[in-house]
């Protein structure tokens, strides 16, 4: 960030923690552990040891055993691998997938790809707060259902699904369960081996680790077909030279992440921000009021356009629409699915707090938001009702 800028877009990505940068740098130069971790010579073996240490750190943080963790290039790839790979490897069980309309595009578009390959997809309903009930999931299960994919923490609203309860229903009915946990790590505890979860997607860059590295959790005994071929890395499931510095950064980041302690701090910042914003007339908090991750606040400011609000407060990095795809500003499909009108969806900003967010920043943001919403509402004075409904 530049001086004077305030970063409140931690749900899009997090700056890499200084301690993580240091660990990564140790693997990069000629003096570092920079050999190929698949090489059999001593420098290769040292790099390999670092990779395996990181795998153990990650496994430990998400409540899994190391051999269930396979590295990928990020949660997008993990989501694809989970859906395409599990559906392909379990064709004999059927060709039916269940997911929701609140998922990340990495799941939704992959579900679309499966449809075009002859699979059928059911979308489970959710309530207006964006919560999916285990009953609703169970009601969608058919004899030919192979997989249910429901995200843990929603990236736009922060709503947390009860994946343990949902997974339980899946397992009772003999169906595989995948959870996209890209937004969870470090904010909400994960107990993957204990929970009835077969597959989970993880990513480093939402938890102060580097972009471009993620992992897939695959419960022992669950069959998944690789998307990428060539080489024996990651048990043949995900070939390609292992990126030591990236993996080490991921491991270090998860070693540092402590949902119990950090979650409370994030919630405190988030609540302070909501306190400051709720003074604005008509503002509305989207998503379940309590079943939510501590880092995200999704707020509608009826009567102003988020794009304008974003430019007005351009010293703050906040997100309009869906963070990962905001190249094209269009109303968020997640908010639309939750019943917001196009106008309200376009009047919504996502604030997401993180490790480096200060109270002073929060107070500044709340004050500036109050002033700019007032200015833009004055600019729009006389506008018809639909703009704010």
């Amino acid at each position: 960030m530049q001086p004077g800028e305030i970063y409140l877009d931690y749900a899009a990505t997090t700056p890499v923690d200084q301690r993580v940068i240091e660990a990564m740098t140790e693997c990069l130069g000629l003096e570092g552990d920079s050999a190929n971790p698949s090489s059999s010579h001593p420098p290769g073996q040292r790099a390999r040891a670092r990779v395996e240490k990181a795998r153990a750190q990650i496994a430990q943080r998400v409540g899994a055993s190391p051999e269930t963790i396979r590295f990928t290039s990020g949660a997008t790839e993990s989501d694809n691998l989970a859906l395409l790979g599990a559906m392909a490897a379990n064709k004999h069980r059927g060709r039916h997938l269940i997911t929701s309309r609140l998922e990340h595009k990495a799941v939704l578009d992959t579900a679309g790809a499966l449809q075009s390959r002859g699979c059928t997809v059911s979308f489970v309903d959710h309530d207006d707060d964006g919560v999916i009930s285990p009953d609703a999931v169970e009601a969608c299960i058919r004899d030919d259902t192979v997989l249910v994919s429901i995200m843990h923490v929603n990236n736009e609203t922060g709503v947390v699904q009860d994946i343990a309860a949902i997974g339980k229903r899946c397992h009772q009915r003999g169906v595989l369960f995948h959870a996209d946990a890209a937004q969870s790590t470090g904010k909400v505890p994960l107990k993957l081996d204990d929970w009835p979860v077969d597959l989970a997607s993880l990513t480093a860059h939402k938890t102060y680790g580097p972009m471009g590295i993620g992992a897939i959790y695959i419960r022992k005994g669950v069959n998944v077909q690789p998307l990428i071929h060539g080489g024996e890395q990651e048990g043949g499931l995900r070939p390609g030279t292992l990126a030591t510095h990236q993996i080490v950064g991921f491991g270090e980041a998860l070693e540092l992440a402590d949902p119990d302690q950090e979650g409370a701090q994030l919630a405190e910042r988030r609540d302070r921000l909501w306190n400051g914003l709720s003074a604005i007339e008509g503002v509305r908090l989207n998503g379940h009021p309590t079943q939510r991750s501590p880092h995200v606040l999704n707020v509608t400011f009826p009567g102003v356009q988020a794009e304008s609000l974003q430019l007005a407060v351009s010293e703050m990095a906040v997100s309009t629409g869906s963070a990962c795809n905001s190249d094209i500003p269009e109303p968020s499909y997640v908010l639309s699915a939750m019943g917001l009108s196009d106008a309200l969806a376009a009047a919504t900003l996502r604030f997401s707090v993180g490790r480096f967010t200060t109270e002073a920043e929060i107070d500044h943001v709340a004050e500036r938001m109050r002033a700019e919403v007032a200015r833009l509402r004055a600019l729009a004075r006389g506008a018809p009702n639909w703009t704010a409904e």
């Binding site: 356009q305 794009e307 304008s308 500003p329 600019l379 004075r381 006389g382 506008a383 018809p384």
Partner: protein, 125 residues
């Protein structure tokens, strides 16, 4: 979104925003809206000796739309009424460096000006 400084500056200042005093004489106004484009705009003109003396606007829209409304107001003040027909939003697009995808929204400004023009003609007629 990367905004041209021309857009940014007009959006942030919006000098000519806000309503004219409705009580005064020689006032015409025109509105346009498109719900699917998520835009509403109203222009108000004070006419003096057959020319456009003052322009004010209110707008609900994206930064480009706001900047285009400000630009439009700038351009019209001091011009004869005929300027209402001549003002081209393609010109605006070019001058302010607005992406062409936004033309649909900008054309609503033309609609609002056309409504002003009709009012003006009614007054005369």
């Amino acid at each position: 979104m990367d905004y041209d400084s021309q857009v940014r500056q007009r959006f942030l200042s919006a000098h000519r925003a806000g309503p004219l005093n409705d009580g005064a004489s020689g006032l015409v106004s025109g509105e346009a809206e498109d719900r699917t484009l998520n835009v509403w705009v109203r222009f108000q003109l004070r006419m003096l000796h057959g020319a456009i003396h003052t322009v004010r606007y209110n707008v609900y829209g994206c930064p480009h739309t706001v900047a285009a409304a400000e630009w439009t107001a700038e351009r019209l003040e001091g011009r004869p009424a005929g300027a209402l027909d001549e003002l081209s939003m393609r010109k605006c697009l070019e001058t302010l460096g607005i992406p062409v995808e936004k033309l649909g929204k900008l054309l609503l400004l033309e609609d609002a000006l056309a409504a002003c023009r009709r009012r003006l003609d009614e007054h005369k007629g």
